[in-house]
């Protein structure tokens, strides 16, 4: 059993209003050293697979097909033993 952790973020250069809002919110309660906040998604999943290489290929495939939209998002992931 493997575990995959996938992170999907808006591509650099695309305005992230949510990140801006969080930053403003933090600023307004005194966290004024925080800059450049970006908000993305993290997905955790179990893979009923043993082979690390096959798992990697499979997660790549899911990201391309569904988990991320390449027009606006980039993704990265990490796979480990569960």
């Amino acid at each position: 059993m493997l575990k995959a952790i996938v992170t999907v973020m808006l591509k650099k250069g695309i305005f992230d209003p949510q990140g801006r809002a969080v930053q403003n919110g933090l600023d307004s309660i005194g966290f004024d050293k925080v800059k450049g906040v970006r908000v993305g998604k993290q997905l955790e999943m179990d893979l009923e697979m043993e082979d690390m290489g096959a798992a990697e290929a499979s997660v790549h495939d899911m990201c391309d097909k569904m988990l991320a939209n390449p027009v606006v998002e980039s993704y990265s992931f990490e796979i480990k033993e569960a």
Partner: protein, 743 residues
């Protein structure tokens, strides 16, 4: 020995929320001591939330029948006849405590829950409303977060599930600082022959659970809602349910598809106390028993104990009582919608409520005993503050110098200002029935394929009820009905939401009892029976005390022809402005006293229910006669606010001349009841005045709609108000933004 045993067990039932005498009673019913599973069944079913232990005896005051009432209290929602063999069903429900702790999820699941009540009647949910009460946001922080999360939660759920949110109210007072109120209402539509009931008839028929998996969500939510809201308590976290409006949408589609066939004898949604209360109620109605095997319930979590499965409040689940042999057919339809429908038990003839785990009986009690929660009739005591507030006299406050400034302040006041900030986050047009959208007095929906519609409103006034629970409650019903008639709808019936503090306190009990009497009296006078409701008691915190007594009235009305639909904004220049009703020198309980003088005091304005009925009948009559171009009731902020609102919503100004010998503030901002502001062409205006005189109603032309964009009010040659409409609009439109501004 026996003493020691009692001492040990005392802890167990008390921890479950049962009193000593309740425990004694249930052992008598059972003829033995309960096991843990059985104790949990009683603790849930006998809680205030499920058993209405303090409110049930008071419900006897309500008028619950009438020519249009198809179903009164006792089912998931009441039903009223809207002609042509069509009916609507509606109900409201509170989700106060969950919303205080997890405002987004609490509010969202409140919306989901009430939609399922409507679905359980066999109806298609066609509209949602919500009534929200918060503390003043004041400085930034917690309250502002609560407000925006609650509204976000309501929006997300309603928007996704595809039921338009067409109205409601948002009110503020620090009485709700520690304990906000979130009440949601839903209205459904169906043909008269499509009505479903929550009944488990037919011995051998199957109990099927449909929708979501069961987890440990909302463990003990029913009893949680029946406790004071303590400082954040880790144990209560299990009470947080997460809603899935997508699942709910599928549930609606699948259930309505199943209902088309003749497979189902009874339906019940799973709300408070989940599988338990839904199955007990259906069995009790049929006089049958039921048997449920918890092992058959599809679960999301492992190692759930039988009582956890029985009382879980996982969302988006329904119970269907399915004819024997039809189970596969039902399952097939659910499967099409990617849902399951699983048999978890069946109807028996022995009147027992039997819980099994893998075929082994783990609890068994008489069905009737679970439904027979003990009730409490307590002795109320008039709260001490009433002596003081009733002693208020108008001359205790000085007349402000600048009345223009007062009007602008009131237009921007939290309770009065535009709630567009809120309702633009709600899809109020989906389903394509919304004829009058949020922002007017009543929301109006058309009934597709007909020339008729329905009016829907939700109203409350905690301050009124705090200052005079009985007359305050009467006033709310009267105001709701006014909102209906000015929109062209004939009031039909109400559902009530009783939000109060801890009823075991005599002062709170007094408020509860008086409010119920007030609602009851007004409903009789206006012929709007009570067809359902909800009670949320124990709304108090150690830090902030009890909330204002806050009965909330959800009302529906019938618009006989869409030609009758009337809105508040002025329509044409040179139309005459007409005031119906008597303006008295009343400042007590007003928004004006609160906002301008910081006083929550005085008595609630006088209310003559007979006159109210006469005036409302008259308004509806002249609207149906086509004499009226715009109509608006006079509510919070009185005459000046109503006039400004009718200008703001239009492109016109108004020039008004009054001649009443009284304090200018009472004249402009006092909240004398049973008043209406209309506009009409001059011929019609003449007819209206004549007709009013015939009925013995006070009515007069007070001014004219002008192209000049100013709101001008004179009294006996003295100019009291002169403000550009634009300034009024600005104050009204930005009030909520200012409240929510984060810096």
């Amino acid at each position: 020995m026996t003493e020691k045993k009692a001492g040990m067990e005392e802890k167990i039932w008390r921890k479950a929320g049962l009193t000593d005498s309740e425990y004694e009673l249930l052992t008598k019913h059972m003829g033995r001591e309960p096991n843990t599973v059985e104790l949990a069944l009683y603790a849930q079913m006998w809680s205030e939330h499920c058993g209405y232990t303090h409110t049930r005896p008071l419900f006897k005051h309500f008028l619950t029948t009438g020519p249009r009432i198809v179903q009164g209290p006792g089912e998931n929602a009441g039903i009223v006849d809207i002609d042509d063999n069509e009916v609507i069903t509606f109900k409201l429900e509170s989700h106060n405590h969950p919303s205080a702790i997890a405002p987004f999820q609490g509010a969202a699941t409140g919306v989901g829950g009430i939609i399922r009540d409507i679905l359980a009647m066999g109806a298609y949910p066609i509209a949602s409303l919500n009534s929200l009460h918060f503390g003043h946001p004041g400085e930034k922080g917690h309250t502002r977060w609560l407000i925006s999360e609650v509204i976000h939660g309501i929006g997300e759920y309603g928007n996704c599930v595809g039921v338009p949110t067409v109205g409601g109210e948002v009110r503020f007072s620090n009485a709700y600082k520690g304990n906000p109120l979130v009440n949601a209402m839903c209205v459904g539509f169906m043909g008269k022959s499509e009505i479903k009931k929550a009944i488990a008839t037919g011995v051998g028929n199957s109990l099927m659970i449909v929708g979501n998996l069961t987890g440990r969500d909302g463990m003990g939510g029913a009893s949680f809602a029946s406790k004071d809201l303590e400082e954040e308590n880790d144990d209560d976290r299990g009470a947080i349910q997460v809603g899935d409006p997508f699942m709910e949408k599928l549930l609606i589609e699948a259930c309505l598809e199943v209902f088309q066939e003749d497979y189902v004898v009874g339906v019940q949604d799973m709300g408070a106390a989940g599988i338990l209360s839904s199955s007990v109620e259906t069995a009790s109605k049929a006089g049958n028993g039921v048997e449920i095997d918890v092992a058959l319930v599809p679960k999301r979590e492992e190692a759930m104990r039988p009582e956890e499965v029985m009382i879980s409040e996982s969302q988006e689940r329904m119970l269907l009582i399915v004819k024997k042999g039809m189970e596969d057919k039902v399952n097939k339809i659910f499967h099409k919608w990617d849902l399951h429908a699983v048999v978890i038990g069946h109807v028996t003839d022995d009147g027992m409520y039997r819980v099994l785990e893998d075929g082994r009986t783990v609890g068994e009690v008489p069905v009737w005993s679970l439904m027979d929660a003990p009730t409490y009739v307590l002795e109320g005591k008039e709260p001490a503050h009433l002596k003081e507030t009733r002693a208020f006299k108008n001359d205790l406050v000085a007349l402000p110098e600048d009345l223009n400034d007062v009007l602008l302040k009131l237009l921007g006041a939290p309770d009065i200002c535009s709630k567009e900030w809120v309702y633009r986050q709600y899809d109020h047009r989906v389903q394509m029935n919304t004829v009058v959208k949020p922002g007017s007095d009543a929301a109006i929906l058309r009934i597709k394929g007909r020339d008729k519609g329905i009016g829907i409103t939700m109203d409350s006034n905690g301050r009124y009820c705090y200052l005079n629970p009985r007359r305050g409650a009467q006033s709310i019903v009267a105001e709701s009905a006014r909102n209906q008639v000015v929109s062209g709808a004939e009031p039909i019936a109400i559902t009530d939401g009783l939000n109060f503090g801890n009823p075991e306190k005599p002062e709170v009990y007094y408020q509860l009892e008086q409010s119920i009497l007030g609602i009851s009296e007004a409903c009789r006078a206006l012929d709007t029976p009570v067809i359902g409701g909800n009670a949320s008691l124990y709304n108090q915190t150690p830090e902030f005390g009890a909330i204002y007594p806050t009965p909330i009235i959800g009302m529906t009305g019938l618009v006989k022809s869409l030609d009758h639909v009337t809105t508040m904004e002025f329509k044409d220049k040179d139309d005459l402005v007409i005031l119906i009703g008597e303006t008295k020198e009343e400042l007590g309980a007003s928004e004006y006293l609160d906002i301008i003088h910081g006083l929550v005091s005085g008595d609630v304005p006088e209310l003559d229910l007979e006159l109210e009925r006469k005036a409302q009948d008259f308004i509806l009559h002249i609207i149906r006669e086509g004499l009226v171009k715009s109509a608006h009731d006079l509510g919070d902020g009185g005459l000046a606010v109503a006039l400004a609102e009718s200008c703001i919503a239009s492109g016109f100004g108004a020039n008004v001349f009054l001649d009443l010998d009284m304090r200018a503030d009472a004249l402009l901002f006092g909240e004398s009841q049973t008043r209406f502001m209309l506009s009409a062409g001059s011929d019609s205006a003449e007819k209206i005045i004549d007709l009013a005189a015939e009925k013995g109603l006070i009515a007069g032309v007070i001014g004219r709609v002008t192209e000049t964009q100013d709101v001008i009010i004179r009294n006996m040659d003295e100019k009291l108000i002169e403000i550009p409409v634009e300034d009024c609009r600005d104050a009204f439109a930005t009030g909520f933004d200012k409240l929510m501004k984060t810096d």
